[in-house]
């Protein structure tokens, strides 16, 4: 490294740098932020390759709005539902904040799913990125858990029935489902434990995994685009492909994030989520959030174990994918088996979701 490459060297060699630039140099000298300026291939800056960043942006929106919601939410069963009602009717701006939180959760689920599909289509999970694929699958599972626990926290009939499924599935799993049982800590309301999971355990785990995900992306570098030439190993983009600093990638992700945030704000004003009546035990009269409809259809056909079969099969397939698919090709056109399997799974999930609109829900809880 030459003197010119160091922050101090850069400052000396360019005396007419702006104040902002010099301030950045001062910070960089102490915090090393220019380490983020590592090169990434040009193709990484389009929207489809930025979906992971957009998902992370939605996560940040969720953290900020979640902190605000936590100031007014009471996780006690007697007061939880009413605290939400008070919050959105008596505290200025909180109806909007709750609306943004709700829609950001939906956005994070959708963008994470789209990111996962993009990685699948472009074969970006292949060697040497299998480990990072597993980290991503784990994060997708955590996002679903966060959606689930968030649904329960409303403590309305829909949330309580979701919790009922959770408890009975825990029973089905025997010892493996003990944590989900109210018997695990019988003197503590299960709502309080799920609140802890929603605001600490799940986001904390996501933060750890996001960090690991990003570090592994840096270590393995952005995967090559399947329509472009690769380097000699086949695992990296061609050295002839133009690159941009990673900070430019972050800049574009932030721009997409602003579009997302604006959209969330509009939805939060026009379509804020309602708050259902507080729960009453012994009823099963609501439908779950749309994200779970495909499993709900399976439950209607197979009973409660249908949820385990469906969810377990999907995540088992996702987990095994990079180890079973050893085809070195990345272009979808040259991976007929993986593409056929992926299409079958996608069509099944979409069809089961749509079927929910046509079937009459059956009662399963307590049966």
């Amino acid at each position: 490294m030459t003197a010119r490459d160091t922050p101090a060297g850069r400052a000396e060699s360019t005396p007419h740098r702006s104040l902002a630039r010099r301030a950045l140099d001062v910070v960089d000298e102490r915090m090393g932020i220019r380490a983020l300026e590592y090169p990434v291939p040009e193709h990484a800056n389009n929207l489809t390759w930025s979906l992971g960043g957009v998902t992370a942006f939605a996560f940040v929106v969720l953290l900020v709005t979640g902190v605000l919601l936590a100031q007014f939410y009471s996780p006690q069963p007697e007061t939880a539902n009413q605290s939400l009602r008070d919050m959105v009717t008596n505290v200025w701006g909180m109806r909007f904040v709750r609306g943004v939180h709700y829609w950001a959760a939906q956005a994070m689920y959708v963008t994470a799913a789209l990111h996962l599909i993009r990685v699948f289509l472009t074969g970006s999970y292949k060697r040497p990125r299998e480990g990072n694929w597993l980290v991503g699958v784990a994060m997708f599972g955590l996002i679903i858990l966060a959606l689930f626990t968030g649904t329960v926290l409303k403590w309305d009939q829909e949330g309580f029935e979701a919790l009922g499924h959770n408890v009975e599935l825990g029973d089905l799993l025997g010892g493996a489902g003990l944590w989900f049982s109210p018997d695990f800590a019988s003197r503590v309301p299960i709502l309080v434990r799920l609140y802890g999971a929603h605001v600490v355990m799940i986001p904390g785990l996501i933060l750890v995994l996001v960090t690991l995900h990003a570090l592994l992306v840096k270590r393995h570098r952005i995967s090559p685009h399947p329509d472009l030439p690769t380097d000699t190993s086949g695992d990296q983009a061609s050295p002839d492909e133009p690159t941009e600093p990673f900070t430019h990638h972050l800049r574009r992700v932030t721009a997409f994030g602003l579009v997302l945030t604006g959209g969330l704000g509009i939805l939060a004003v026009l379509v804020p989520p309602a708050i259902g009546p507080p729960p009453v035990d012994g009823l099963e009269i609501t439908r779950p959030p749309w994200n779970f409809w495909w499993m709900f259809t399976l439950e209607n056909w197979l009973g409660l174990p249908g949820i385990l079969y469906g969810g377990g099969a999907l995540f088992l397939l996702l987990t095994l994918l990079p180890f079973v698919d050893r085809n070195p090709q990345r272009s979808w056109r040259r991976r007929p088996v993986a593409m056929s399997l992926g299409l079958v799974v996608l069509v099944a999930v979409v069809a089961l979701t749509l079927l929910m609109l046509a079937i009459t829900p059956k009662t399963h809880l307590g049966m």
Partner: protein, 192 residues
Amino acid sequence: MIRGTWRLVVVTILALAPVTLTAGAQAHGDDETQEGYVLVQQALAHLAHDVSSDGIDLAMEKVNDALETEDQEGVDVAEVEQGMHALEADQVDQARTLLQDSITEALAGRPLATGYETGTGVVPVELPGRGPLTGSDWLVMVLSVGVAGLGVWLSVRFRPHESVSALRLLLGTKPVTANRPKRRIRIARHPR
């Protein structure tokens, strides 16, 4: 050979997973409650979710169960009967008030909820997402449109210099795998 064995193991696990996962499954039996105040709450819940004739019919079934059950501790049966008459007369709001009042005593003495208990006392109707847009709503919406617009402008301004098709032209028209060594060579480079 080893790879084939692994695949066999994986397929076997996939096939057996549903069986092993649900090995501990048990029938729970019908848990329909006999507690009068819970039955009244269930009637209130039906009325809170659906005030069509279907919802009222379901609520009346629950009220009927509450009147017939032996466990009516803390329930004002006379008010429940009045609630039933109100439902029969399609006076849902009055029925709701009477039914809620009828279980005041039962709810008053309950300890704090633990485990899987609901802790529910009053059963109000759904709080709608929003009413008519207020001045604050319009302000926030205009700001949101502005933020989205700024994002669109920045994403266009910061767009990549080259699209993927332009990169393909720039990098030549060689097939995607032209630079890739043959599979045989790669195996030699990574001996097991």
